[in-house]
């Protein structure tokens, strides 16, 4: 399905309706020129208006932008400042022609209106500012799918050792030996955050280990949806390990949506229950260090992971193991050892190598481009395809 997207790019580009472009010049009107054209890269319903003002005509007290209604009357769509500017008229019907003019007012009396301009709003089938990103995404997807296929065929795929993930089993084993619970903190964001989704996938793997070892698993959550998903994920893991009796729904509970209220609640759980292993995997903000330092104070082995660059240093300083950025997303595949999932990891690494090469070529081209025009064009090309508008 995803490979159809590039085809859409080209067919979309061919059939895309750019809408009409209209403009007009005013003679003795303060508004020197007024243009109207279909707003680009939208789902339709928008017309971009742009105007310039004259430096030789007396500045009016106010200027009103007007649109011609279906009944033939002009109605105001807003007042504009007496300087060059632009505005988008929105919530229009696609396919209908809309006519605009600007009227200057002097002491409440309307002066000469500007020329009338028209445009037809239309929906676009491709966002032209995102074509480069679409091509890159397709390339990355192809590479990842290629290596997934290689994994399925049983090709030996080397994946580097990730210390934090290798320690998961040790951490759960330690909790079992000490007779203390395992605490899993899935971050403070909701289920629409990809890090929380990745965290739920890892939770499933950790729950399998706790079910296997017979440890108690506590999952305090900051969002009600996350709690529901976590309950289902853990329940399924316990079922799969043949330990449905060991699943305790009450151990996966909602605390509060408030960031520091949640931090206080989890800190309380740490102090009272003294977990032997703490997992902090997901999206974290200022509460990261509060949680990690409290966990350290109770002597727990701590494995943290986030893709938030600002919180990674705190986890590195306070936790035993830290999954940095991409390692959080690699965790599920790494723990499962399933060939097709490991294949996606390999694809991810190859895609990263591709971007490293693009960055090096881009930097060199931009540097050389300072004195050699063709290199500057190469740099501009890379800049265009890697930019998103």
């Amino acid at each position: 399905m995803l490979f159809v997207l590039p085809l859409l790019v080209f067919t979309g580009a061919i059939f895309a309706q750019s809408g009409d472009i209209a403009s007009g010049d005013g003679g003795d009107c303060f508004i020197l020129s007024l243009t109207a054209e279909d707003a680009p890269n939208d789902a339709g319903g928008g017309i971009d208006l742009e105007w310039t003002v004259s430096a030789h005509v007396t500045e009016p007290d106010s200027i009103v932008l007007e649109r011609l209604d279906e009944d033939g009357a002009w109605s105001s769509i807003g007042t504009i400042l007496p300087v060059d500017g632009s505005r988008t008229d929105e919530k229009l019907s696609n396919g209908l022609e809309y006519t605009y003019r600007a009227v200057s007012f002097y002491g409440g009396i309307p002066g000469t209106p500007s020329v009338e301009v028209s445009a037809v709003p239309a929906r676009q089938w491709i966002h032209k500012g995102r074509i480069g990103m679409l091509i890159l995404l397709t390339l990355i997807s192809l590479v990842i799918f290629y290596f997934i296929e290689q994994g399925k065929r049983g090709k030996d795929l080397y994946i580097r050792r990730i210390a934090g993930l290798t320690a998961v089993e040790d951490a759960v084993g330690r909790a079992t030996e000490m007779g203390r619970p395992v605490l899993y903190i899935p971050g403070i964001m909701d289920m629409d955050d990809i890090q929380t989704i990745a965290s739920m996938v890892i939770l499933g793997r950790v729950a399998m280990k706790t079910a296997e070892y017979g440890s108690s698993l506590l999952v305090p959550t900051c969002r009600a949806v996350v709690m529901s998903v976590a309950q289902e994920t853990v329940k399924e893991s316990y079922l799969q390990m043949g330990r449905p009796d060991a699943y305790q729904k009450g151990n996966i509970n909602y605390i509060t949506d408030d960031q520091f209220g949640y931090a206080a609640g989890v800190d309380g759980i740490m102090i009272r229950q003294k977990p032997a292993a703490i997992f902090m995997l997901g999206t974290f903000y200022a509460e990261s260090l509060i949680l990690a330092e409290t966990g350290r104070s109770v002597g727990a082995i701590q494995i943290a992971g986030t893709a938030m660059p600002s919180q990674i240093p705190f986890f590195i300083a306070a936790c035993d193991y830290t999954l940095i950025g991409e390692e959080l997303f690699a965790a599920s595949a790494y723990l499962s050892k399933e060939p097709k999932l490991l294949g996606s990891l390999r694809g991810q690494d190859v895609a990263k190598l591709f971007f490293m090469i693009v960055i090096v070529i881009g930097v060199l081209a931009a540097t050389i481009g300072e004195s050699w025009e063709p290199a500057a064009r190469v740099a501009d090309f890379f800049k265009t395809i890697t930019s998103v508008r």
Partner: protein, 205 residues
């Protein structure tokens, strides 16, 4: 069927969300999906509140471990809910008073603890146990010195060096993390959209 339905929903929703980013004409479908999520999340708040009460009532009833804290939670929760629902949340209402005089200071207290935790974490991180930790210590010292007036008084170039550390090596490291994370997000999304990752449904089979 147990796997087919959730996998189909994930696939359709995922493809729509990708399409709406690149195809403006499908943006309304993506917006609708996000609205649906908001509706589901809104209803889930009731589930969360019910879970909170259930857990603490159960703990009190069966005199569970540390049960004495549970009445405090229930009283606080009920006070906020009832005052807000019955008397409103405007300025001067009991809810507003409870929020400003209790919730906000308690949140501020938790946030303030961060200062002490930063100090203890920095003490451990900055111990010059090896050359990398020493490099970190020196970098941190220069950055902190460059951010206060005394740094420029000691040597006018310290703020410039501090800025260079933040803008060049630090930013490069952060961007590397972000690029790697973006690759991971793409791979995770593809695995879930195409049903390759199924552990969240209770197994890979």
């Amino acid at each position: 069927m147990r796997l087919f339905v959730p996998l189909t929903i994930t696939f359709v929703a995922g493809i729509i969300m990708i399409l709406q980013f690149f195809v403006p004409a499908t943006q309304s479908m993506g917006e609708s999906l996000q609205e649906w999520y908001m509706i589901v999340a809104s209803f889930a708040i009731f589930i969360g509140a019910a879970n909170l009460l259930q857990v603490h009532v159960h703990r009190i009833r069966f005199k569970g471990r540390n049960w004495k804290y549970s009445p405090v939670t229930i009283v606080g929760f009920s006070a906020m809910i009832l005052t807000g629902l019955i008397l409103g949340i405007e300025k001067g209402t009991p809810f507003n008073f409870l929020f400003l005089e209790m919730v906000a200071p308690m949140s501020a207290t938790m946030f303030s603890l961060l200062a002490f935790f930063v100090a203890s974490a920095a003490f451990r991180a900055f111990r010059a146990s090896n050359w990398r930790a020493t490099l970190l210590l020196i970098s941190a010292f220069v950055v902190m010195l460059g951010r206060v007036p005394i740094g420029a008084m000691i040597w006018p170039r310290i703020p410039l060096i501090s800025e260079w550390i933040m803008q060049v090596p630090n930013l490069a490291g952060q961007r590397a993390v972000m690029i790697g994370a973006a690759m991971g997000m793409v791979a995770t999304s593809l695995r879930m959209i195409f049903g390759i990752e199924r552990s969240y449904l209770g197994g890979a089979d």
